[in-house]
């Protein structure tokens, strides 16, 4: 038992998060839902406070608040009175403000706000690993099951409906998956950086992929490289790990973007 345990847990958690963020991130990019990811993350403080007040796990608290938020957005979207972007603007900051106010009431709660905002991999507990790998595996199975219909409705929702896809069910399932992934990923990169773990690996994979499936798989791989690289830098140079991971991913994105485009075979 020593320093090594912390590091191994941190790395295992980071890689698990990267694996599931890759394929989900690809859909976040295709469906232009990065603001939705950020909104879920903003609600996390409320989840932490709620978990503390009601004496249950903070990850569970974050998950429940995320799900409630996803549900609220889902219902509001169906009424079609406001643009989704506007609705998210309202929800994200209302959730953040509610979380901060709620926390102020709980003066016995001593949470490091910085670690919530920017992540703290060394605080990963064995229970967190269960959340990441258990929740991640369930998300992966669910995502594989809705893959085809979700892709079809990402291309054209109404065409998919005419072809028999239950678009409401598939869309809500996808929102739930994102809620789970955001909740379990927060310890690694924090509230402010979680969206980057969804978007940057997928964006990097785009240049290198010929099919949606390739892009999803490559995004997972690139995410893992970013986590491994970022944690190594963080260990060697004593950098904040979440930020190091995101910067490593960004460097890969820039490198791939600068690479001359390969010729597509005719």
């Amino acid at each position: 038992m020593g320093m090594d345990d912390f590091l191994i847990r941190a790395l295992a958690a980071g890689l698990g998060v990267a694996l599931i963020c890759g394929p989900l991130g690809a859909f976040v990019v295709w469906r232009r839902m990065s603001f939705f990811g950020s909104t879920l993350a903003h609600s996390a403080i409320l989840g932490v406070a709620l978990g503390y007040a009601l004496h249950f796990d903070m990850t569970l608290g974050m998950f429940l608040v995320s799900v409630a938020l996803a549900g609220a957005l889902f219902l509001a979207e169906r009424r079609k009175t406001l643009a989704t972007d506007t609705l998210l603007g309202v929800l994200a900051h209302a959730a953040l403000a509610a979380g901060i106010v709620f926390m102020a009431f709980l003066d016995t709660l001593r949470t490091d706000l910085l670690s919530l905002l920017f992540g703290d991999v060394l605080s990963v507990t064995p229970a967190d690993l269960w959340w990441i790998y258990g929740g991640g595996a369930l998300c992966m199975i669910a995502l594989l099951r809705i893959w085809q219909p979700l892709l079809a409705m990402t291309v054209h929702e109404e065409m998919a409906r005419v072809e028999g896809v239950n678009t409401l069910l598939v869309r809500f399932t996808f929102m739930l998956l994102l809620a789970v992934v955001v909740a379990v990923s927060l310890k690694i990169v924090g509230i402010l950086l979680i969206t980057s773990l969804l978007v940057i690996p997928a964006a990097t994979a785009r240049r290198l992929s010929g099919t949606p499936e390739q892009m999803a798989a490559l995004a997972a791989l690139i995410g893992c490289l970013a986590v491994g690289g970022g944690m190594a830098e963080s260990y060697v140079w004593d950098l904040p790990s979440g930020a190091a991971i995101v910067l490593t991913a960004t460097v890969m994105f820039v490198a791939v973007s600068a690479w001359p485009k390969r010729k597509t075979t005719a």
Binding site: R32, Q148, T154, H156, E158, M159, V162, G164, T211, P212
Partner: protein, 268 residues
Amino acid sequence: MNSPDALIAAHNVCVEFAGREVLHDVSLELKPGRVVTLIGPNGAGKSTLARVLLGLTEPTRGHVERRANLRIGYMPQFLSIDRDLPMTVKRFLQLSGVKDTERIKAILDEVGAAYTLNEEVQVLSGGEFQRVLLARALLRDPDLLVLDEPVRSVDVTGQAELYDLIGKLRQTHRCGVLMVSHDLHLVMAATDEVICLNQHVCCHGSPETVGRHPEYFAMFGPTIARSLAVYTHAHDHAHDTAGHVVDADGKVHDHDHHHGQDHSHGHG
């Protein structure tokens, strides 16, 4: 007017959006092997009516009957695939649920776009993409094709070819066709029944009957309506090198073939 072989029948359908009525008391029937074209000015409710028939929009009043297990091939008016989504024509067609590559190739060949199979959808021309969309609609072996503005962003020659193709597909696939269009002239040759829509059904019938109908004249104006005369017998003439219309008997018309096209911008 409900006949037993109808694929879809709409009865007295009204649709309101935010209290504003966009469709009033519309009834119609779609039958196997028949091409019905909805025409009307922008904002006439053509797409809304198509959506009601497809089951994408619930009518405010009235009801729609669909034959049990009706398979519909739908070609939407707008479809653009995000550049961030890598997608070949083959993968796009597989999204219909049909995975069989041989069948995909056969259908793509039928619409004259076999060579696009492994191309990225984002690089296709307007005409090629419309053909690929048509292939997607046909893949599931539909009883009914619903084509919303099928010749959008296609040049004039390409439009005529596409309408010819749609006419042939109706015969080879024995399916009913509902087309939505606001360009009248080319549609006329390829359609069995025309429904003029402007929130309500102004008039309907064969292309020739509708072309003479006073309501139709009132909607599109006499110049547009008269230009139809050229196009209703569009198959018995060709173009000479100067672009004039040459009848089958070789007589050159002194007016320009593109006449109707010019006017159609006026109401569009």
